[in-house]
Amino acid sequence: MIEVKNLTKGFGGKNAIEDISFEVGSGSIYGLVGFNGAGKTTLLKCIAGVYKPDSGEALIDSKNTFTCPAIRQKMFFAADSFLFPESTMYKTGKFFAGYFPNFSFEMLDKLCGVFGIDKNARLTSFSKGMLRQAELIAGFSAMPEVLLLDESFDGLDPAKRNLMNNLILDYTAEKNCSVIISSHNLHEISDICDRVALIDGKKIRMDRSVDDIGADRCKFRLVFDAEKNESDFSGFNIKKIKCEGKMVTLSLIGSKDENEAKLREMNPLLIEKFPLSLEEIFLEEMEGSDYDFREIFS
């Protein structure tokens, strides 16, 4: 079990993450979503014991990962670049076997076979996607109880991505492993994670189970007989609204049915209801943090 308690880490006087707390239970997969530079990697490195937090702590089985190195034998951190590019998969396995007591060469052989990777080939000859696969193969072979994956799906083709998803799900279920995945790929996150946290540069903006994530949000498309503007919807908890003459698209927070009933009271000519995808929720939550590209060249 992973516990993150009030974790803060800064660089050069500015906090990259601030007062972050969450828990990841055994057999659970936790997704970290956020824009570039939001602090996902910093958070993972703090949990992995690479960075010393400025305050707070990261615990695995109630032991501090920074001050108790022995606990890190239960944890594999797949960082965004691989360790020995000049080495081979087999030699890399030998290296990790020295630090992970449960390291399984049998698993290594199996997974190399599944992914079609030559364990005796030099890693310098591998493509980016193959290096990612090699990294994950090493991670699974280490048989950890905690797996930290930092954007590990980048560069994988759809087939390998699907295979990897299944492997993570199976491994988590079989070994009762706690997994944290950081990714920009929101589809994968929603596919395999139990919970998802949205990190926005310092704090966790949202931390919910995947099932609940869209429960209190809904998107509506409405057509009225006259033009409408934002002030006409002041009675709603609006996350996002777009008025285009008589047509209005809006994303509302709150009960779907209650919101729909209230909207029908406005007598729209047409009303359509859509569930929000994780990507849409992500974009809504991140709204205001990016440039509006349409304004750049205007």
């Binding site: 690479v50 960075y51 108790c68 190195p69 606990i71 951190f77």
Partner: protein, 771 residues
């Protein structure tokens, strides 16, 4: 698995993995070691090569590559010595370089091994590699030596010493580089700071030594202009820096180079085995171990996020600016050492502040590459300047105050004083000669600056102690710089000793010491000194007052009893106080009796060995007087013979030897000018003692004109406005007053005396003789 067992396993795994990775470097260390060591061990061979058989064996051994000295001469030797240093630094970069790259540090620090174990395992792996390489190379060379020349206790003691010393030196370099890596964020930064840290012991040594000589009075360290051969002097004077010198300071350049002297130098001279001093190396070893612990501590606190980022090593940046800046500032002070002390201090402080400001700016901008960051961190600069000023304060004020303390008279058992050789030179003047075109060109050189020729006399009476204390006091108070050296060493009753060196003493300080050599006590010691020295002397040469005649009388050369009687006569004159203490213008100088440690007959310029007889004992008997080309010798003891030296003169007269002091040619012209005007035409006046030069008529010397860069040929002489005397009476009167050497005084004259054959002499008439 318990965490302890697990920790041991990961530690062992990291150690073995690093060991396996760096094992190949042990072979390089070994190869360089074998080639480098052979010189040292070859010297050992020579030390044991007293018998012809061993010497022959040594010659044979030269065929064996490991014992070929030619491989290790000059730069080659430095190269091999440097190889180990470079390998040690490279190993540190290999072992700890992972923390300079973000991707590798991410993985390494997420592994289940503590930072301390991670550091220590690699440290021990490199120590094992270094030890194995050095041990093997030494063992091979030692075994080869033992095989050729036999095993000996000395050989294996040397083996142990060299192993300990080289291993310590190797690990010292490795540890300093490890500190540089641990504190740096980028490889480039680590390399630069590694170089600074490795030179730091030398920089600190240079800074402190220079500051202690330029900023203090009476420091026990002799001033050495621009760092020349500091260590020799540090060692000679036995100060605290010297105690750490070989082990800690200058470890790379001088510890390794110094090994020869530690173990073998005495061997080389055929002397007995000199037991090497393991203590210094032990101190260095302990310092290395402490530095390793410090590196481990730094590593445990290292911020991983600085990996790959330049400009994050604030501590090393500060260290570099302070150490290099202080060394350069101390150098600036030493360049102007001859100025008054307050100006020297001012120059050191001002130049230091400027150098540090410029140095800080350059280093900071080079690494941070951001003017904004430079401005943000500019507060580091005043902090570093404060450290520099504290060092200046510690040396220039605290240490200066300490060195100005004079032990109380009642605590002093005895005092040794180096009497500048000009005090002794009136009796035992060391003169070197050069010969040109069969004409004798004599250039008198006073060896005041030579350490080994400086005579230390011991004084014990209350009067002597008080006199020396008062001279020390006046030296402390004097602000006008001079050019004489006075060394004083107080031996205290509690067994300790206090040394004071004054490199900028003035003539009046030296003159204040004259009463010391006029005491009965001093006379007694002089006699012992002369007796001891005279045992080494061969037959004396008679030198005329102007040096143009140098003769070994045949009758004296052939009669050892007569030679002994002459020594005895001189000895009696010293005992009775008949010999003046220094050049005495009030008494007529008849000539000199020159003693050399060489047999002058071997260098007889008139090669008529066939005429001489050799008796059955191999002793050569001269048929007639021998004119000696004393230009062949460099070390003469010149005893002046004055009127009033009754014993010597009566001996000479009794044996008909007094005529040998007369000149071959008559003086036909004398030019004279007062000393100040003629000073620029003479050399060797810095010590306060003037010595003459005698030239053949065609003598010329080269003078380079700095502006035109052309070489001019000049004849030595006096200024055009010099008084000229050609009358017989004037010449006779003046020539009696001319001295080859005398103490400089403002009332004296510089003189050019020209002989009938065209030779001439540039000499002096002391004020006391001028009348």
């Amino acid at each position: 698995m318990t965490s302890e067992r697990y920790s041991l396993k990961t530690f062992g795994f990291t150690y073995l993995r690093a060991l396996k990775k760096y094992l190949s470097i042990a072979f390089l260390i070994c190869a360089a070691g074998i080639l480098y060591m052979n010189r040292i061990f070859s010297v050992i061979l020579q030390s044991r090569g007293a018998s012809p058989e061993v010497m022959q064996a040594e010659k044979n051994a030269r065929l064996f590559i490991f014992f070929d000295n030619s491989l290790n001469s000059g730069l080659t030797s430095i190269f091999f010595g440097l190889t180990w240093t470079v390998l040690a630094a490279l190993l540190a970069l290999f072992a700890y370089g992972f923390m300079l790259a973000p991707h590798s540090s991410n993985i390494r620090y997420s592994l289940g091994i503590s930072r301390n174990s991670q550091f220590t395992a690699r440290y021990l792996a490199v120590a094992t590699v270094g030890f194995a390489g050095i041990f093997t190379s030494l063992l091979i060379v030692s075994a080869a030596n033992a095989a050729f020349y036999g095993s000996s206790k000395e050989l294996w003691i040397t083996f142990a010493f060299l192993l300990f010393a080289h291993f310590t030196s190797f690990m010292f370099t490795f540890t300093l580089t490890a500190i540089a890596v641990v504190l740096s964020g980028h490889l480039f930064e680590a390399i630069i700071y590694s170089a600074v840290l490795n030179f730091s012991p030398s920089l600190i040594n240079i800074s402190l030594s220079t500051l202690l000589t330029t900023m203090t009075k009476g420091s026990p360290i002799k001033y050495m202009p621009l760092y020349s051969d500091y260590c020799t002097y540090l060692d000679v004077h036995g100060n605290i820096l010297a105690k750490l010198n070989e082990g800690l300071f200058n470890y790379s350049s001088l510890l390794l180079a110094g090994l020869d002297e530690n173990v073998c130098f005495d061997f080389y001279r055929g002397e007995i085995f000199n037991m090497p001093d393991f203590r210094k190396i032990f101190v260095a070893f302990c310092v290395t171990a402490l530095l390793a612990a410090l590196a481990c501590f730094f590593h445990s606190r290292r911020k991983v996020e600085i990996a790959g980022v330049m400009g994050s090593a604030n501590l090393l940046e500060g260290w570099s600016v302070v150490t290099v800046g202080t060394a350069l500032a101390a150098t600036m002070g030493s360049i102007y050492y001859d100025l008054e002390p307050k100006f020297v201090k001012l120059i050191t402080v001002i130049s230091g502040i400027i150098i540090m400001a410029v140095g800080y700016t350059v280093v900071d901008l080079m690494f941070r590459r951001s003017f904004k960051e430079y401005k943000k961190k500019i507060w580091h600069l005043p902090l570093e300047i404060c450290v520099f000023l504290m060092i200046i304060f510690a040396t220039g004020v605290i240490m200066n105050h300490a060195y100005m303390r004079i032990p109380a008279a009642e605590k002093i058992a005895s005092i040794s004083v180096s009497l500048p050789s000009n005090l002794n030179s009136a009796r035992y003047n060391n003169i070197s000669y050069t010969a040109e075109d069969e004409k004798i060109a004599i250039i008198g050189i006073l060896s005041d600056s030579s350490e080994e020729k400086t005579v230390y006399e011991v004084f014990e009476t209350a009067d002597e102690i008080n006199l020396i204390r008062s001279v020390n006091d006046s030296l402390n108070k004097s602000d006008k710089p001079g050019s004489l050296n006075i060394y004083i060493e107080y031996k205290l009753k509690n067994g300790k000793s206090v040394r004071r060196i004054f490199d900028k003493a003035r003539l009046e300080n030296v003159q204040a010491l004259y009463p010391l050599i006029q005491s009965e006590n001093f006379h007694r010691k002089e006699l012992i000194h002369f007796n001891r020295k005279s045992e080494e002397f061969y037959c004396p040469v008679f030198v005329s007052p102007n040096g143009s005649s140098t003769v070994i009388p045949a009758e004296l050369y052939n009669d050892e009893f007569m030679q002994a009687d002459l020594k005895k006569a001189i000895w009696c004159d010293i005992r009775d106080g008949n010999m003046p203490f220094f050049a005495d213008g009030g008494r007529k100088l008849l000539g000199y009796i020159a003693y050399s440690e060489y047999d002058q007959a071997d260098y007889d310029d008139y090669d008529d060995s066939d005429e001489n007889e050799v008796n059955e004992n191999g002793f050569t008997k001269l048929k007639r007087d021998s004119t000696v080309n004393i230009g062949c010798f460099s070390d003469y003891s010149l005893i002046p013979v004055y009127e009033g030296m009754g014993s010597t003169l009566s001996f000479l007269k009794k044996n008909g030897l007094d005529s040998y002091f007369k000149d071959k040619y008559d003086i036909v012209k004398i030019s004279r000018c007062i000393y100040e005007e003629g000073e620029q035409y003479f050399s060797n006046n810095a010590t306060g003692l003037l010595s003459a030069s005698i030239y053949p008529k065609n003598y010329e010397f080269e003078l380079t004109d700095a502006e035109t860069d052309t070489v001019k040929l000049l004849k030595p002489g006096l200024p055009d406005n010099a008084e000229v005397f050609t009358g017989e009476k004037d010449i006779a009167e003046l020539s009696e007053k001319i001295r080859l050497n005398c103490l400089a005084d403002d009332d004296g004259y510089c003189v050019k005396a020209e002989y009938e054959n065209g030779d001439y002499i540039l000499a002096y008439i002391p004020g006391s003789a001028a009348g």
